[in-house]
Structures are given as C-alpha cells and as structure tokens.
C-alpha cells in the first residue's frame, strides 16, 4: 500500500518553496550565522569560529556606527518628507494643467529613467568645487569664494540629499497624481457648496483622499531609500573622513574593503530594524487611511 506523504497542495507548492528557501532563506540564515563569527573574506577558516554576540557588543559601543545610523535616520526623514511635499506640489500643478498634461506627466518621470549611478556622477560634477556648475553659477552672481560642496559635512549631505530628491520626487508625484485623478468630483463640489474655500476643500477633502496614495509612496520609498547606496557611494563614498558616512556605505566598506564580513552582517542586521521601523510605521498609517476609503461609494 502506498502512503501519501505530501498532500497535493503542498506538493504543488514545493518547487516554489524550494526556490524561496534556496535564494532567500538560506542566504539569510547564513548571513545571520556569520554575524556571530569573526568571518573575514580573506581567511576562510574564521567562518567556523563562533564568537557569540561579540560583533554586536562591539557595534553597540562603536561611535562611527551609531553616527552613521543617526545620520541615515535623519537623511531618510528629510528625504522622504521633502520628496513628499515636492511630489504633492508637482502633482497638484500637473493636475491643474489644462493642455499638455500627458507630456508633462512624461517629462515628470524623466529622473526615474536614469540609473542612480549616473545621477551620482552628474551631481558630483554639478557640485564639484572647481569645475562644478553650481559654484560656477554662484561665481557669476558675484560670490567669489568657491564653496566646498562635497567636503563640508553639512554641505555634502545637502548635495547628496539634493541628488536623491531630484531622482525620486517623481515617484511621489506620479503616485499622488494617480490619486488626484481618481478623486470623485462630487464630494469636492459638495464641500464648495458647504462653504469651503479652496484651501479648506484641499485640507478636508482632497488630502484625506490622497493619504493612502501618499503612504503607499512612503512605504515604497522607505524600502527604496534604505538601499540607496549608489548615489552616496559615487558622490562622496562616505567621506571625506567619514563625514557623510551612511549605513550602507559603512556596511559595504566593512564587508568588502576591510573584508570583515561577520561584522558587516551584524551591522546590516541592526540597520534592518531601521528599515522595518519605517516600513511598519507607514504601512500602519496606510491601513488607517485606507479603512474609510475602502468601503465608500
């Protein structure tokens, strides 16, 4: 007699499960394990030395790590907020355009079409203190001194943020525009008759309608920006002297340049919490905003 070991549903899902285990779960476990070893890429034998939480203990007192952590948090917060405000403004403007809206929409998406690496190079050139366009323009306006855009800590972060915001505002703009175009006309007209000014209509009717779209954009971007390594790496590579070090440049340098894979993985696991925190936060907001929009006519 043949005994059924696996039920058909499990059997059918098995190939997918095996692939998921092979490409996601195994690497994840492996990297988690290495974060408990002093694993160095140059010395394979270290892979088998288990040192418990030593990497983590070291990180908790590592000033550079926490500086990068804090900086990343600030950059994330500023970037997401500015991108959302600009995206909202852009979407509102494009939505008001009577003619040429399609063209505008396409133009608006241009920044999304460039590789972040190219964006990085472009802005590195723009902000170069000798030959950069920005200083050049300032000079023609009569500001004689060359501004060290990519050298000073705050200016460099500002330059990085500018590049980041330039390349990603359109994602917000597109998603919010989609929301704007989906808004029914009736409640807005009802609000007008109910005595709302243009601003009140926006504040009380349009904005609540847009909230789910904004939070979707936020959620997507919070995942996105937590991996936005390219622009920073190209523009400053975390330097000079670690002044613009963000988590992802720090981790990649620790892992690949210093070959300290175990420590890098420990950093990565700590910083994942940052990502998860942002994503969870926006996702909860999204759910709350969607609750009433969902069932409405």
């Amino acid at each position: 007699m043949k005994r059924k070991i696996l039920s058909p549903p499990v059997l059918l899902l098995l190939p997918a499960m095996i692939i998921i285990v092979a490409v996601i779960l195994l690497p994840l476990l492996l990297s988690l394990y290495t974060s408990f070893t002093p694993f160095k890429l140059t010395r394979p034998d270290t892979f088998y030395r288990f040192i418990g939480l030593r990497n983590y203990e070291r990180l908790f007192t590592d000033v550079y790590f926490w500086a990068a952590f804090g900086r990343t948090f600030v950059v994330l917060t500023i970037a997401l907020n500015v991108e959302m405000m600009l995206g909202l403004g852009l979407a509102l403007l494009v939505n008001r355009a009577i003619a040429g809206q399609r063209t505008l929409r396409t133009i608006m998406m241009f920044p999304m079409m460039f590789s972040p690496i190219l964006v990085g190079f472009q802005f590195k050139f723009l902000f170069n203190d000798n030959i950069g366009l920005v200083n050049n323009a300032l000079q023609s306006l009569g500001i004689a001194q060359a501004i060290p855009w990519l050298v000073d800590e705050y200016l460099a972060l500002f330059a990085i943020l500018t590049a980041e915001i330039w390349s990603s505002t359109s994602i917000f703009a597109i998603l919010i525009l989609a929301g704007l175009m989906a808004i029914p006309r009736d409640p807005i007209e009802a609000a007008k008759v109910d005595g709302c000014t243009v601003w009140q209509t926006f504040r009380h009717i349009t904005l609540p309608y847009l909230m789910p779209f904004m939070f979707i954009a936020m959620t997507i971007r919070s995942l996105d920006i937590a991996r936005a390594y390219d622009i920073v790496q190209i523009m400053t590579a975390g330097g000079p002297a670690r002044r613009t070090e963000l988590l992802w440049t720090l981790i990649s340098r620790t892992g690949y340049v210093d070959a300290n894979m175990g420590l890098a993985n420990a950093m990565a696991y700590i910083s994942i919490f940052l990502s998860i925190f942002f994503t969870w936060y926006f996702f909860r907001k999204l759910m709350a905003a969607r609750r009433y929009m969902g069932g409405a006519q």
Binding site: P184, D186, P187, E189, A190, A191, K192, V193, D194, G195, C196, T197, Q200, H204, I205, P208, Y209, Y292, M293, G294, G295, A296, Q297
Partner: protein, 361 residues
Amino acid sequence: MAVVTLEKVVKRYGPLDVVHGIDLDIAHGEFVVLVGPSGCGKSTTLRMIAGLEDISDGTIRIGDRVVNDLPPRDRNVSMVFQNYALYPHMNVAENLGFSLKIANRPKDEITQRVAEAAGILGLDDLMDRLPGQLSGGQRQRVAMGRAIVRHPDVFLFDEPLSNLDAKLRTQMRTEIKKLHQKVKTTVIYVTHDQIEAMTLADRMVIMRGGQIEQVGSPMDIFHNPANLFVAQFIGSPPMNLADGVVTDAKTVRLENGMELPLTADMAGRVAAGTAVVMGIRAEEMVFEGHGDAGAQSTRVDITASLSEPLGNESLVFFEFCGREWVCRMFDPRPVEPGESLGVHLNMDRVHLFDKTTEIRL
C-alpha cells in the same frame, strides 16, 4: 427671504450652447421642479445656480443679490447630489456638521443643529457610521440632513432619488414633501421622472434642448400642455396622437379618413384647413359598457392588439391612424388580442396641435 431669479441665463461650452437664455422667477418657499429629457440642461441650470458652473451670459439673483460671480460658499445654498457625495472619511455626525464647522460655529450650536437634523430624518442611530457602512436610502437621508443643518436660503436637488429602488423612491418622495412643508425653504429640484415632478412640484418647469417649454402648476400643465412636446412628456401612459386636417364641417378628418366632430368651442378657435395633430389622453376614452365619456363623445371601432391588466384597470393597446394608441379600461374584463371593441372619445378633452409649430391650438 430667498427669491431666485434667472434672467436670460446662457451656458456655453465652447461654441456649443447648452442653455439658451432661460428666464425664471422662483418665489420664496416655492417648490419648483425642473423636468425634461436627458441632456436638456437641467443639471447645468442647477449647477449654475449653485455656483459650480460659470454663467456664460445673463443674470442669476438669489434674494436681492446678483450672484453671477460669487463662489458657491457665498451663496448660502445647499445641494443634494445624485450620488449623495458624502465625505467618505467622516462619520454621519461629522458629515452633517461639516458645513457648520467650516463656518466656525460654536461647538454646542453644531451639536444641537446636527441633532435636530438627525431627528427630522431619523438618523439618530447611525451617527457613528461611515458612509460606506450605510444603505442607499440612509446615505440619501444623510445627504439631505447635510443640506438642512445649514438653514440655507435655497435647497438644490439634482435627481436625489434616481439611485434608489422604486419603493424607497416613493417613500423618500413623501419625506421630501413633508420636509418642505416643515422647513418652508425655496426648493429647486431636478428630475427626469415626470411622476416625481408632478407629485412634488408647486410649479413645474418643462425643459427641452436648453430651453423652457412651459412653466405652470402640475395640474395646469397636465390639462393644458403648451405644445406637443409637453403633451407627450407629461402624463403616463403618454397622450395618444393622430394626424389630421380640420374641415369646414367642424370636424377633424384623420389620416385614415375617419371624421370626428369637434366641439363648437374648438371649431371656433381653429380655422378650417389647418393641418393638425390631434391628441387625447388614455383617461378621456371609455370602452363601450365600461363607463360614460360625457355628452360630447364620439364612437370609433378598434381592434385590440394587447391588453395589460393592472388589477383595478387594464391598459388596452390598439393601432389607430398608423400609431399605437392606449386606452384605460376601467372595471376591466379580459380582452383577447384581435377582439373588436367600441371606444368613446371625449371630444371635449381632445387637444389639437398645429402640425408645423406643434403649439396647442
């Protein structure tokens, strides 16, 4: 006091005129219904009064103010939309109180007025629900409540009942009528349903193609339609029509050769030789043995093609003069298709319309 006056009001969309200079005076507290076929400009007219559409030409006055260039919020009107247009993220109480909150009214005044409106409309148990959690009829009532909390000068209704099922529609119709008797505010109500128009209106405005065809009380319009269009549009089943010519012998000769005697009064008004369309309502014809069509009646013989029993009466369809006619049979008996019947037409209630101008003679 809110008298609403429209003077030569025009609405243009580019080169296209959709409202052709209409004039209308609406008295304070009056219930006026705009009615007409789809696309005739009823909603456009209403939206111009509300301020949701610009006025291309002419003047609209509410009270003694010209409101042409005032934004909706300065007109003190409230509007009930066809699909209710509730604010989906606010619960019923917030929906009702929204306009007062925007107007910065004190909290307890808002609470009190919202409660008052909720009481009138029976919404007390629903105050915490979101619009998505209400049935169509309940949403409808919230939309009306939102309109009445404001104590506006004018209520504007744009087909507020058309999304409801037949039974609820009848019920809400009655409630709107009662509401109007209670609050005594000017109402302008748009519908394409002529029964709704007849039952609700103090005065009816019949529109077609951006123009007003006739203004009058429901009974007046029903009995004295100004032209062929109004005659056909108002009344159910629609008026029966036949083409013909008025003769010297004070009769009208129909296309099928039949000659019907006109009343002396009618014959005096219409010159012999005029090409006309004769109209008579289904109620003004009586089947032989089913009642009395009055002293001025004349008998014609017809062959029934179909009968629709409605219980207390039947509608009997037959072909007459190349058109389909329908007549009510009171105190009905079964009628077989193909059966020959005699019908008495009450010639006192026959209308004649000029064939070219379509104006009633």
